[in-house]
Every structure is written in structure tokens, then in C-alpha cells.
């Protein structure tokens, strides 16, 4: 009798002739959190998709509770008590919480849906999980983190014994992450086996019992978490040592490039004032929903402004839409690459040239394919984007390389100010460092760099000056020497004290 609830041996899987998994070994005990680590494209997602029956393995043996299981499809996996919480949420946004939780196994009495009973059971479940949610809320109205909780609740409601979480924290704020970890710990104590995939290594110390590391589709090692150091983990993931997680270059602050005065745009952007100088990187910190993304979008002209001035190189510029901003030399690398950054059905080359067609076309608007080719090749080379063919669909690239394409399309033109919104979300350590180096290059060239990030170590590690936002306002501007995680968090949670003011009034 095996002590493992899941054990996989010699698992192989290829896509179009490319080996995604090569002789992979994996195991999981009940009542533990196993962190599955590796860079993008290491095969973590493929492995868990095989375990949960989304993909069929080409070869290898899989044991559940000590018994060998041949064919696995999603139904079989569900019967085995395996539930997967995907990177992308799999909920129907138009249905309620209860409807989503009972989707596909609705309770009925004499052929009619028993909504009352389903809502009651859902309420019970949510209460058990300490979730402040109503069963009849429409899922689409919830924040991403709440939706994720609904997804976890759904998994638990199927009596899952083996829970797979693929990057569950990538869209959560630190407070929400604490809550998620509490939930995970509770599930572990109840005897669930949890496979946890994440790029945020600093999270591991809070939850991981053991780690399995993969690289390039191969199994590298499994270890007790307490027996392995963070540096060893990184070295094994990357295959080489990364010297500096946050490379920083020191430059003297030059002249003022860019200034935003009294910018207002809806509730999330209120009276924003900020400045950018040559030779510095300015980081914007804050909780998710603090108005950071909205601020960059308003500056860029993607959303309408109510009032405010934008001054570039001493001259006032009018920005009513993204085209105005681009022409003035202000660009934005957006947050959600799948939604806002890439046209996944267009080729890599077309994606890179899309914002640059103004100088790739002649006066009649006819595209010069030679110029385009030159521009694309230069960008691919400079950013070291790994790809087979620039004519392939952008969707065919891994997450890190997709992010590089999104960055590349904006660096191909000479800009004065580059704004990055969460540039390193969901990408691995090595690519993160490459992105930081790109930002440093811009800084060296005297281009203004403004970047939004939810990862405090990154904010502290890369920026020269830090702006903290809370609830649509700037609550602090800190020099990097005076900033610490605690100070930033203090300002990031400086909500206007509404309760007191109503009392007084």
C-alpha cells in the first residue's frame, strides 16, 4: 500500500512533436501542500492537466490512492476526487454563485430545479469557509479574488480530496492572499492533498510542505521544503544561478521629463499629481483596485479624463485617445496581456508592428513589408525573444515570451515616457530579470519609466522613487531609501475615514 494519494511515473507528453513532459515523476501525500515549481514552459501546467484528465498522457503510469489508473478524463478525475483551479477562471459570469457551484450537478425535485436547497447548501459551504458572500450574487459582479474563492468553494463542494491550484495568487492582493493561505491550511488539516503552482517563491514559506522542481519538461527533484534553500530552488528551476534578482543601476537624476497635474478621471483617479525625471524609475504601489491601472489608462487616453494637465518636456500636451499619447511619445504596456496587450490570432510580427504602422507605412497608408521585417527582427533580437517563426500566431508563445512581445511592440518606437502595468505578472524569474534590464536600459537612455506593481519586493528593488496609491488618491511619495514594505502598506491602506466623518456630520 502506497503512502501517496497521487503518484506519477515516467509520464511523457508531446505537442506537435515538441516534448512538453519527458519521463516525469511526481507524488503527493494527503494532508500536505506540494509546491510544483519551474519556469514558464517547464511543464507544470501540462502535468497537472494530465493528472486532472484535461490532456491524455502519451506514456507513463499514474496511481491514485495506490491503484493504477489507466484512462483519465475530467469525469474520471472528478470521481477520483481531483479538482483543479485553473490559472484562468472557469466560471459562468452571468450565473449566480450557487448556480456556478452546482453547475452540472444541479439538485432537482420532480424535474424542477430546487434553487432554495442549492442556495442553502451554498450558504452553508460559504460560511464554513468564512467567505462573506451571498449565494445569489451574480459571479460577474464579484472581484477576481472573490471569483477565485467561489472556484475553490466549487472544488470543495465536490468533496475533492486532491486540490490542484495553478497560480492562484497572481490576481490577488496581499490581504486576499493571506486569506487564501488560511483556507489552504484549513484544507490541509482536513486531510486534502494540495498541489500548488506559483511563481512567487516568497509565498512558499507560508504554506509549502514539500517542493517538486521541473525544468524544460523534465523532473529535477523533490525535497522537503525545510531541507532546501531559496537559492537552491532558483538555481534548480533556472538551471543556472541568478546573481541578482533585482539588478539596479545608479544614475543621477536629470531634468524633468513628464508631469501630470490634478488629473481626475472617475472615482478611481482623484487629483493625481506626479512627476518623472530623466534617469529614474518610478514605481506605483498599492492594493489591487487602488486606481493605479486607471491612472495609467487615463494618462494614456484609454479612458476619458475629467480634468487635469499633462506636460511633456515643458510643453502641455492634449491626450484624448491612445493615438494622441503615442504620437506625443507616451506609451503604455498594459496589465492583462491576453485581454489588452496581444492580438493572439495575429502573427508575432503583426503584433509588434501594430502600434508602429505610422512609420512603417508611406503617405498613402501602404505598408512596407521590408521596413516591417527590419523592425520586427531588430525587436526580436534586442529582447532575445525565443521563437521559431515571426509569422506564427502570438498565441503559440509561452507567457514570458508573450509578455516580451507586448513590451517589444512599444520599445520599437522612440518614446519619451514608458508606463508598465504589472510587467512581470505570471512570468518566471529569469524573464523577470530580463524585463528589469529593459527598464534599466530605458532609464539609462533618459526615458521616463513609470511602473505599476503589486509585488512589493519588485517595487522596492527596482524603483528610485515610489508613489503609493489608495482608493484613487496618492497617499505617499517615498524615496527608495526611506521605503520599506511596512511603510508602503501603511500608506496603501490609508482609506479616507468615512465612518468618522458621518458620525460627526
Amino acid at each position: 500500500m502506497s503512502e501517496y494519494v497521487v503518484e506519477a511515473k515516467h509520464v511523457c507528453k508531446s505537442f506537435r512533436g515538441i516534448k512538453a513532459l519527458d519521463d516525469v515523476y511526481f507524488n503527493l501525500k494527503s494532508g500536505e501542500v506540494m509546491a510544483l515549481l519551474g519556469e514558464n514552459g517547464a511543464g507544470k501546467s501540462t502535468l497537472v492537466k494530465i493528472l486532472s484528465g484535461v490532456y491524455t498522457r502519451d506514456a507513463g503510469e499514474i496511481y491514485y490512492y495506490g491503484k493504477q489508473v489507466g484512462h483519465i478524463d475530467p469525469q474520471v478525475a472528478q470521481e477520483l476526487g481531483v479538482a483543479i483551479i485553473h490559472q484562468e477562471l472557469n466560471l459562468c459570469p452571468h450565473l449566480t454563485v450557487a448556480e456556478n457551484i452546482f453547475l452540472g450537478r444541479e439538485l432537482t425535485s420532480s424535474g424542477l430545479l430546487s434553487d432554495k436547497e442549492m442556495n442553502r447548501q451554498t450558504a452553508e459551504l460559504l460560511e464554513k469557509m468564512d467567505l462573506d458572500l451571498r449565494p445569489d450574487t451574480i459571479v460577474g459582479d464579484l472581484s477576481v479574488s472573490k471569483q477565485q474563492m467561489v472556484e475553490i468553494a466549487k472544488a470543495i463542494s465536490t468533496n475533492a480530496r486532491i486540490l490542484i491550484m495553478d497560480e492562484p495568487t497572481s490576481a490577488l492582493t496581499s490581504k486576499e492572499i493571506d486569506f487564501l493561505f488560511a483556507t489552504i491550511n484549513k484544507l490541509r488539516n482536513e486531510g486534502c492533498g494540495i498541489i500548488y503552482i506559483s511563481h512567487r517563491l516568497e509565498e512558499l514559506k507560508h504554506i509549502a510542505d514539500r517542493v517538486t522542481i521541473m525544468r524544460d519538461g523534465k523532473y529535477i527533484l523533490t525535497s522537503e521544503f525545510s531541507d532546501i534553500s531559496m537559492d537552491e530552488i532558483i538555481a534548480n528551476m533556472v538551471g543556472r544561478e541568478i546573481k541578482e534578482k533585482f539588478p539596479r543601476i545608479e544614475l543621477n537624476r536629470g531634468k524633468k521629463i513628464f508631469e501630470v497635474k490634478n488629473l481626475n478621471a472617475g472615482r478611481m483617479v482623484r487629483d493625481i499629481n506626479l512627476e518623472l525625471y530623466e534617469g529614474e524609475i518610478v514605481g506605483i504601489a498599492g492594493l489591487v483596485g487602488s486606481g493605479r491601472t486607471e491612472t495609467t489608462r487615463a494618462i494614456f487616453g484609454a479612458d476619458p479624463k475629467e480634468s487635469g494637465e499633462i506636460i511633456l518636456d515643458g510643453k502641455k500636451v492634449t491626450i484624448n485617445n491612445p493615438r494622441d499619447a503615442i504620437n506625443a511619445g507616451i506609451v503604455l504596456v498594459p496589465e492583462d496581456r491576453k485581454k489588452d496587450g496581444l492580438c493572439t490570432r495575429l502573427s508575432i510580427s503583426e503584433n509588434i508592428s501594430l502600434p508602429n504602422l505610422d512609420f512603417l507605412c508611406d503617405k498613402l497608408g501602404i505598408l512596407s513589408s521590408k521596413k516591417e521585417e527590419r523592425l520586427v527582427n531588430k525587436a526580436v533580437e534586442e529582447l532575445q525573444i525565443k521563437l521559431a517563426d515571426v509569422q506564427a500566431d502570438a498565441a503559440s508563445l509561452s507567457g514570458g515570451n508573450q509578455q516580451k512581445i507586448v513590451v517589444a511592440k512599444w520599445l520599437a518606437r522612440n518614446s519619451r515616457v514608458v508606463m508598465f502595468d504589472e510587467p512581470t505578472r505570471g512570468i518566471d524569474v529569469a524573464v523577470k530579470v530580463e524585463i528589469y534590464n529593459i527598464m534599466n536600459d530605458l532609464k539609462r537612455q533618459g526615458i521616463g519609466v513609470l511602473f505599476v506593481s503589486s509585488e512589493l519586493p519588485e517595487i522596492l528593488g527596482i524603483s528610485d522613487r515610489i508613489i503609493v496609491m489608495c482608493d484613487g488618491r496618492i497617499t505617499a511619495e517615498l524615496d527608495r531609501n526611506e521605503a520599506t514594505q511596512d511603510i508602503i502598506l501603511k500608506y496603501a491602506t490609508m482609506f479616507e475615514n468615512k465612518i468618522q466623518s458621518t458620525k460627526e456630520a
Binding site: A59, F300, R323, P334, C343, L346, C361, I366, L367, Q391
Partner: protein, 345 residues
């Protein structure tokens, strides 16, 4: 030089939707062969000329619909704009307007419908299905009202030049209607493939948010596609008017769906972002060959409709099956190779 040529072909084949274009081109060749065997007259010079003239209007509206489909929208007003164009031009001519003035006025009016479509869809964010359903009904109403709910009389001798230009005349051995279709295809194919506007059209259909943040003007791009569509519909209306020599109120009935069929058979995705106008040529040709060939084979209209309906479904299905099949075959090979490897070990 050799390498350059290789790159060129690689580019052609990896071009969006080229796979289905190749598949359906084989289908077209087979269809032609079958009809040629059934009835040798099918390949006679006279019939080929007729066939091309039959294909021309379907191709033209197909081009318009392809533009709109690639932006991720749909244009249901095509058929009604054809009718409106036909009635408007004929009515003006019977009232004694110079034919070319009449053509000009008609084109302007039809473009107005395209502009309204663009405004409704891109500015007011109406679902394209609803917006163009509205303009479709309106345009048909206009077609009926311009001559007080009657078809027009003959547009007469004064319009001989007009009729020759759009239909009866021929240049270098090809009917003018075919030339018009070719010129329209050539121009719009160039715009779609080689200009900034074309690239923007693909980008909007592929990911409207990414396109907007890349500085693409969504409103003007979407509106341009609808303008192309209504322009193409207008030309077809004029061709129909020239053909019959009068205005008929139900001209172009359900052409919007024929246009969708021609586009989709040719590999244009109704989800946007994918497709090329070469595909639309093949799609329209399959349509025309079926109509013409089945007519020759003595099949009644009802049977023709059923066959064409099946072809629309099969052609798209075929593309999906071919793609899946490739994957399955690869998987099979992989598995057997693995097994062999395991046995050897």
C-alpha cells in the same frame, strides 16, 4: 534568392486562413471536374463566361461581408442595400436623371447606410446583429418607398451605356461584370493585405482592447469595413438593375447570407481576425459552380438550396476535421513510437 523564395512560400502558407483556402480549392476543382464529366457543355466557352458572370455579384458582396466579418462584426443589411441600390438607381433613371448622376447619388445613399451601421456598432456599441438588422429593414423599406411600392418601368434606351458598363458589355473577351468584380477584388485585397487600414481591420477583429491600446481608432476602422460592405452591395444593386433593365423591390433578397456563405466557405472566421479575400473568391466560385452545374444537371431550385446549405456546413466542418485529424494522427504515431521504444528498452 532561393532562400528568399522559400520564405515567400512559407509566408503564403502560414498566412491566416490559407489552410482552408487550399482545402476548398481542391473542393472547387473536384466540383468542376464532376460537372464537366456529367455535362461536357459545362466547360464550353459560353458557359464559362456565364458562370463567371454568375459568380461576380456573389464575390462582390462576399468581399464586403468578409471585411465586416474580419472586424468581428456582421452586416445583415447587404441584401437590402442591394435592393435599395437597384430601386433607387432605376427610379432616378426612369424619372429622366442622367444614368451616371443616378449612379453617383445611389452610391452616396448606400454609403450612408454603411456609415449608420458603423456609428451604431462602433460608437453606440449596439450588437452588430441588432444594428444591421435594423438598417436591413430600413433599407428594404426605402427600396419599396422610392417608387411608391411598385417595381419600376424599363430604364429605357438612355441607359444603354449604363447597362453595357455594368453587365452586357465585354472587354478583352470577358463580361464587364466580371471585370468589375475583379477590379473590386484587386483593390480591396490590396487594402486588406498591404495597408495600415487593412492591418487595423484584422487587429480590431482579433482583440479590440489590444487594438485600442495600440492606438487603433476603433470607430473609424469599423466604419470603414461597413462602408466597404455597403459600397460592394451598392455595386451589385447597380449590376442587377443593369441586368434586368428595371428596378425590382425584392432584388438582393437574402444576399447577406449568401455573402456570409461565400466568406465562410473561403475560410473567413465569423469570430473575426482571420480570413483572406482569396478565400472569398474560392467561396463565391464554389457557390456559382454549384448553382450553374446543378442547373445544368436539371436539379430544381429546392435541391440546389439544400446542396448549398450542406456545402456551407461541410466546408467549415472539413477544415475542423482536417486540423483535428492531423493532431490525432500525430498522437497515434507518437504513441506507437513510444511503444516501440519501450519494447526495445
Amino acid at each position: 534568392m532561393d532562400l528568399e523564395r522559400k520564405n515567400f512560400w512559407k509566408r503564403v502558407i502560414t498566412k491566416r486562413g490559407m489552410g482552408q483556402v487550399i482545402t476548398v480549392t481542391f473542393g472547387l476543382i473536384i466540383l468542376c471536374a464532376v460537372f464537366g464529366v456529367i455535362n461536357p457543355i459545362f466547360f464550353s466557352q459560353k458557359n464559362v463566361g456565364n458562370l463567371l458572370r454568375q459568380i461576380a455579384p456573389i464575390l462582390i458582396i462576399g468581399i464586403g461581408q468578409s471585411y465586416v466579418l474580419i472586424t468581428g462584426n456582421i452586416d445583415l443589411s447587404i441584401g437590402s442595400v442591394v435592393g435599395m441600390s437597384c430601386m433607387l438607381s432605376a427610379t432616378l433613371m426612369t424619372k429622366g436623371t442622367n444614368p451616371w448622376t443616378a449612379v453617383f447619388i445611389t452610391v452616396v445613399c448606400c454609403l450612408l447606410i454603411g456609415f449608420v451601421n458603423g456609428v451604431l456598432v462602433a460608437k453606440f456599441k449596439l450588437p452588430p446583429f441588432i444594428a444591421t438588422l435594423g438598417t436591413m429593414t430600413m433599407a428594404r423599406g426605402i427600396a419599396q418607398i422610392v417608387n411608391n411600392n411598385y417595381n419600376t418601368d424599363s430604364i429605357g434606351d438612355a441607359a444603354r451605356g449604363f447597362r453595357n458598363f455594368f453587365y452586357y458589355g465585354s472587354t478583352l473577351g470577358l463580361y464587364n461584370a466580371v471585370w468589375i468584380a475583379f477590379v473590386i477584388w484587386f483593390i480591396f485585397n490590396f487594402i486588406l493585405g498591404k495597408t495600415r487600414t487593412g492591418r487595423h481591420i484584422y487587429a480590431v477583429g482579433s482583440n479590440i482592447d489590444a487594438a485600442k491600446l495600440s492606438g487603433v481608432n476603433i470607430f473609424s476602422t469599423t466604419t470603414k469595413a461597413y462602408l466597404v460592405s455597403s459600397f460592394c452591395s451598392c455595386i451589385v444593386g447597380l449590376i442587377i438593375c443593369a441586368t434586368s433593365g428595371m428596378g425590382t423591390m425584392d432584388a438582393g433578397n437574402s444576399y447577406e447570407m449568401y455573402a456570409v456563405a461565400a466568406s465562410v466557405i473561403g475560410g473567413v472566421s465569423t469570430l473575426g481576425g482571420r480570413g483572406i479575400l482569396l478565400g472569398t473568391v474560392i467561396g463565391a466560385s464554389i457557390w456559382g459552380v454549384l448553382q450553374n452545374g446543378l442547373q445544368f444537371a436539371g436539379a430544381p431550385v429546392a435541391i440546389r438550396n439544400i446542396v448549398i446549405g450542406i456545402i456551407v456546413i461541410v466546408s467549415v466542418l472539413l477544415d475542423i476535421v482536417v486540423r483535428n485529424d492531423k493532431l490525432i494522427r500525430r498522437k497515434g504515431l507518437m504513441a506507437s513510437a513510444k511503444q516501440k521504444g519501450a519494447e526495445n528498452a
